[in-house]
Amino acid sequence: MRITVRFFAILKDRAGVDSTRLELTDGSRISDAMKLLETQFASIKPQLARAAVAINRNYEKTDSILQDGDELALLPPVSGG
């Protein structure tokens, strides 16, 4: 399956791109996608550890299973307001 990954704020700066696509085996969890991202974007490793994750614009836990076509967003600690 293929998913879209979106980076925000410091993660976007460190990754150098605002999005990427990942090819994963069916049944993969968010944590599997994050491991793959760490190898593709070594520069984001420290921030990835502190990031929250959202699938299709809703917060999820990292053991949630991904579906084909999902939009996985990596969200550093928020600071709005």
């Binding site: 614009r57 928020v78 307001g81």
Partner: protein, 142 residues
């Protein structure tokens, strides 16, 4: 009663428009909160000139809509507007407006405070401090 006014905007926020939006004959109190960029000086003498805001706009907008609904469940809100700016916000300018109208003032104060406090907890928005030497630092990024 009109729908809530929830928006992520790349243009300066219009305080008068927000106050007007929540004005209503059945509301006896309007509470208007503005969050503004505060001037700061770093330890090594640099001045803060602005904050750069970034949002995951689609998610943030839906979170703000849900937050307005949570506030409506707790207080008799007549009208509510939550507006957040993205892009560069200079010192003194507002980055966020929460406007709430209710029949009586106590509810307006409480609901407005609830919304801004909750907004800061988990809505997908980030700010970067922009300093006089041109450098930038993400707030809370570790």
């Amino acid at each position: 009663m009109a729908a809530d006014w929830i928006e992520i905007l790349a243009t300066p926020l219009d305080v008068t428009a927000a106050a007007k939006f929540v004005s209503h004959p059945s509301a006896g109190g309007i509470d208007l909160f503005l969050g503004t960029t505060r001037s700061e000086k770093s330890a090594d003498g640099r001045e803060l000139i602005a904050l750069d805001y970034e949002a995951y706009a689609e998610m943030a907008k839906s979170q703000l809509g849900a937050l307005a609904q949570r506030a409506r469940q707790r207080w008799p809100i007549v009208q509510i507007a939550i507006l957040h700016r993205i892009g560069r916000v200079a010192v003194g300018e507002p980055s966020v407006i929460v406007a709430v109208s209710t029949p009586h003032r106590a509810e307006a104060f409480e609901a407005c405070r609830f919304v801004i406090d909750e907004l800061k907890k988990d809505v997908a928005i980030w700010k970067k401090e922009i300093w006089s030497d041109g450098s930038g630092t993400w707030v809370n990024a570790g």
